[in-house]
C-alpha cells in the first residue's frame, strides 16, 4: 500500500481553495449549459422579440438612399424645365402653323387666278403675236425697198438735185423706219415669250407650285413635331408624377427618416415570425439578463412596409422581416441584443 503522503498545511489550503474553485467552476459550467439550452429553447418559441438597430446617417444604405433621393429630385427639376421648353416650343409651332395655314388658301387662290387669266390672255396674245409677225413681215418688205430709196437720195444729193439738209432729213426718216422695225421685232419676240409663259407651264409656275408644296410640307412637319412634342410632354408629366409618388413612398422609409432627421431615431428589426407582436403603440421591454429582469423602455411608433434581411441575434442565421421605429425613453436599450414587444417575455 502507498505510504500516506503527509499533507502539509500549505497543501491542505491549496486543496481547499482548489475544491472551492472547482465546485464553483463546475456549477458555472452547468449553469452555462443550462442557460444555453434555455436561451436556445426560449428564442425558438418566443415570438415577441425584436432586434434594435442603430442606423447611422453615414451608413452606406442611408447615404445611398439620400443620393437616390437627391438624384430623383434633380430629375424632377430637369423634367420641369424640359416641359416648360416643350410648352413654349409647342406654342410657337402652333402659331407658325396657323400662319402657314392662313397663307395656303391665299396662295391657292392666286395660282388659280393666274391660271385663269393666262387661259384667257394667252390665246389673245398668241393671236396678237401672229398679227405682229405679219406686220413685221410687211414692214420688212417695205424696208427692202428703202435701200433703193437711200441710193436715190444719195444720187440726188450727188447730182445736186436736193440739198444736203433734205438728204439728211430723208435719210433720218429712213433710219427711223428701220429703227421702228427693229423695235417691232423686239416687241414681237417679247410677245412670243409672254405667249409661251401664259400658254405653257413655265419655270415660274413651277416655282410657285414648288413653294405651295413646300408650304404644305412644312405644315405637315409642324403637325408631326407638335404630335411628338405633345406625347413627350405627356410622358414627362407622367414621369414627374411617378417620381413625386416615388419620393412620397421613399419618405416612408426608415432610411429617409434617419438621413433627414435632426435627432437620433431608434429602429428595430422584427422577423416575419414575430409580425403579430408588431402593433403600433405597444410597449417595448428591455431585459437585464437577456429575457429576465425586464423593464419598459418605450413604445412602438411606426411600422415600415419594406422587407429587410438581418442576422438572427442569437442563432446567427439570416432571417427576413421588416423595420419598426421605436420611441425609447432609455436610449441605452437601442444597443441591446433584443427587446420584447407587448409584454415581458417571462413573468418578470
Amino acid at each position: 500500500m502507498n505510504a500516506p503522503v503527509k499533507q502539509s498545511l500549505h497543501y491542505k489550503l491549496v486543496i481547499t481553495l482548489y475544491r472551492v474553485f472547482a465546485v464553483t467552476v463546475l456549477y458555472l459550467v452547468l449553469a452555462g449549459i443550462i442557460s444555453y439550452a434555455f436561451v436556445m429553447g426560449f428564442y425558438a418559441v418566443n415570438s415577441s422579440w425584436a432586434a434594435p438597430m442603430i442606423l447611422s446617417a453615414a451608413d452606406e444604405k442611408s447615404l445611398d438612399f439620400r443620393q437616390k433621393l437627391v438624384t430623383s429630385q434633380q430629375t424632377i427639376e430637369d423634367l420641369k424645365v424640359d416641359t416648360k421648353k416643350l410648352d413654349s416650343g409647342m406654342a410657337e409651332m402652333k402659331k407658325h402653323r396657323a400662319a402657314l395655314l392662313a397663307l395656303e388658301p391665299e396662295l391657292q387662290r392666286a395660282i388659280v387666278r393666274e391660271q385663269t387669266h393666262n387661259r384667257t390672255t394667252g390665246p389673245e396674245l398668241a393671236t396678237l403675236d401672229r398679227q405682229k409677225q405679219a406686220d413685221n413681215l410687211k414692214t420688212q418688205k417695205v424696208l427692202a425697198q428703202l435701200k433703193e430709196v437711200e441710193s436715190n437720195i444719195t444720187k440726188d444729193l450727188a447730182s445736186g438735185l436736193i440739198t444736203q439738209g433734205d438728204a439728211a432729213t430723208q435719210l433720218a426718216a429712213l433710219n427711223q423706219a428701220k429703227g421702228a422695225y427693229t423695235d417691232s421685232k423686239i416687241a414681237e419676240v417679247l410677245l412670243t415669250d409672254s405667249v409661251l409663259d401664259k400658254t405653257t407651264t413655265g419655270t415660274n409656275s413651277l416655282d410657285v407650285l414648288v413653294k405651295q408644296a413646300e408650304l404644305r410640307s412644312e405644315v405637315a412637319q409642324l403637325d408631326v413635331a407638335l404630335n411628338v412634342a405633345e406625347k413627350q410632354l405627356q410622358e414627362e408629366s407622367q414621369q414627374i408624377d411617378r417620381l413625386r409618388q416615388a419620393i412620397q413612398t421613399a419618405k416612408q422609409s426608415p432610411y429617409y427618416l434617419n438621413a433627414s432627421g435632426e435627432k437620433t431615431l431608434y429602429f428595430a428589426f422584427i422577423a416575419y415570425d414575430n409580425q403579430a407582436s408588431a402593433v403600433a403603440g405597444s410597449p417595448i421591454y428591455d431585459c437585464y439578463l437577456n429575457m429576465v429582469a425586464c423593464r419598459k423602455v418605450g413604445t412602438l411608433k411606426q411600422i415600415f412596409a419594406g422587407e429587410e434581411t438581418a442576422i438572427h441575434p442569437i442563432f446567427k442565421t439570416q432571417i427576413r422581416g421588416f423595420l419598426v421605429q421605436m420611441n425609447l425613453d432609455h436610449a441605452e436599450s437601442a444597443k441591446s441584443k433584443t427587446v420584447f414587444l407587448g409584454r415581458k417575455p417571462v413573468l418578470f
Binding site: K12, V14, A22, V23, V29
Partner: protein
Amino acid sequence: MGVRNPNDSVITAIQTVIYYSAFQLYKIPENWTRSICCISGCLFAIRRELLLEIEPAIRARNWFGIPVNQGEDRFLTHQTLLRGYGTYINNDALCWTTVPNTLPVLFKQQLRWRRSIVRDFFFTVRTLPQHVWKLHPNTIFTLVLTPLGAVVGLLVVVTMLTSDPLAWAGPAPLITALGVGAVLTWVIKKYSAKETVTHPLAFGAYVAWSLVSSLFLTPLALCTMDSADWGTRTKRHEVPLGNTNR
C-alpha cells in the same frame, strides 16, 4: 491495438476509428523518434531495473498531498523518456481490446484519461528545463501539444457557442466527420478487416461526442484532479514497495 467489439454500438464504432487513427497515424511520428508519450499499461514492456528505479516515483505521486492512482502508464512512459530511454510501439504485434460500449463507462474512462493527460502536462510544465535538455523536440512537442489541445478545444467550443450558438448544428461539421469517417473506415476495412465497422456513418456521431468531450470532460478533469476514483473499476490490494513476489 485493435478493437475487439467495433460494432457493438455507435460508441464502439467511433472508438474503433479513433483507436486505429491513433495507432496507425498519430503515434507514427512519435515512433520515428522513439518517443511514444503514452504506452498503454496493459501492453507495457519495460526493463525490470528501470521499473524498480521508477517505482518509488510512481508510488509517491500526489496532487497536493492527495495520492494519485491514475495514469501510471503515462507517467511511467514519461519517466522512462526522461531517463534517456526510447519508447516505441511495435505495430506488428497485434493486440485486441474491448472498448466501452455504453456512454457512462466511456465517459468515466475518458475522464480518467483526460485527468492523466492534464496531470502529465502540469508535470511537464513544472519540469520543462529537464525536458528541453534531455528530450527530442518531437517529444516535447507531443507532451505539450496533446494536453494543450484539450484545453484549446474547450476554448474553441466555448468561443464557438458564444459567437455562433448553432454552429454545431450546421452541415459542415457533420459532413467533415462523415468524410473523415468514411475514409478511415475504408482504410480499416482494407488493412484491418477484423475490426471493420459495419456502419461507417456512425462516425457522424463523433461531432456530438467531441462537443461533450471538449465542453464537459476537460473542465471536469481540471476540476477533479484530486479524485482517486477510477470510475470504471476500483483499485485494491496494492503491492507493497519492492515486493516482486505476486
